[in-house]
């Protein structure tokens, strides 16, 4: 990881930035496509626009 102020961006910074961007893109894709197990942003921002993902049994099939 040796570098001097004039040697530009260190390799560890580039590698970390690439891994970070890839992971971030993966999370965004999962959220947009809904493949994150129904775990969209609405789950985090329960502002009334998005109904909670708690899906209880349908009417008529409630537990005794």
């Amino acid at each position: 990881m040796a570098d001097s102020p004039a040697s530009g961006t260190p390799r560890w910074v580039k590698v970390t930035a690439i891994v970070g961007v890839v992971l971030l893109a993966l999370v965004v894709v999962l959220l947009i496509t809904g493949r994150g197990g129904g775990h969209g942003p609405g789950r985090h921002t329960n502002d009334g626009d998005t109904p909670p993902t708690h899906t209880g049994p349908p009417p008529g099939m409630t537990h005794p």
């Binding site: 040796a2 102020p5 260190p10 560890w12 985090h44 329960n46 993902t53 409630t62 537990h63």
Partner: protein, 171 residues
């Protein structure tokens, strides 16, 4: 910053940051118990206790880690944007805190489901805390590693500051 206050601030930063890491590890344990326990009361209790425990432990430690980190970097020659490792730690800390605060809604939601006696145990179980805690653990471990190793590398802003300091010292 005076040496005594600097040591106090460093102690507070290390304690809150490592404490946050430990608390996240505990939440990972909660999440695993919630997914694997055969005891219905234990499963419900796990998801009921997550929300208050997060408000009482995770959130204060996250905010304390962020604030003490800001004091630590701005009050010393490390600065906030001079070294890449400090910038990465700041990004990890801010992102983790924002996601945690947003995730409090999810904790609340899971507690509501767990408190609903008509909810099936399979509905109560939720893999989300395990996923989030595991990711947070990786990020916070990386931040801790950065803090210990302090890998070299000045940002363009840091390089300009360094050159300015060199000119001042030689002038």
């Amino acid at each position: 910053m005076k040496p005594q206050f600097r040591k106090l601030a460093l102690t507070a930063h290390v304690a809150s940051s490592v404490g946050w890491l430990g608390a996240v590890a505990a939440f990972l344990g909660f999440g695993v118990v919630g997914l694997t326990s055969d005891d219905a009361d234990t499963v419900r209790a796990v998801y009921l206790v997550m929300e208050p425990a997060a408000w009482l432990v995770l959130v204060p430690l996250a905010i304390a880690s962020l604030l003490t980190g800001l004091i630590q970097s701005l009050g010393t020659t490390w600065g906030l944007f001079r070294h890449y490792w400090v910038v990465f730690k700041l990004l990890i800390n801010v992102a983790s805190t924002v996601v945690l605060l947003a995730y409090m809604n999810t904790f609340s939601f899971m507690a509501d489901v767990a408190a609903d006696p008509s909810a099936d145990l399979d509905e109560v179980r939720n893999a989300s805390p395990v996923l989030h805690a595991a990711l947070a653990l990786i990020l916070l471990l990386f931040a801790t590693t950065l803090a210990i190793y302090k890998p070299r590398g000045l940002t363009p802003y840091g390089q300009r500051k360094e050159r300015a300091r060199g000119i001042m010292h030689s002038g």
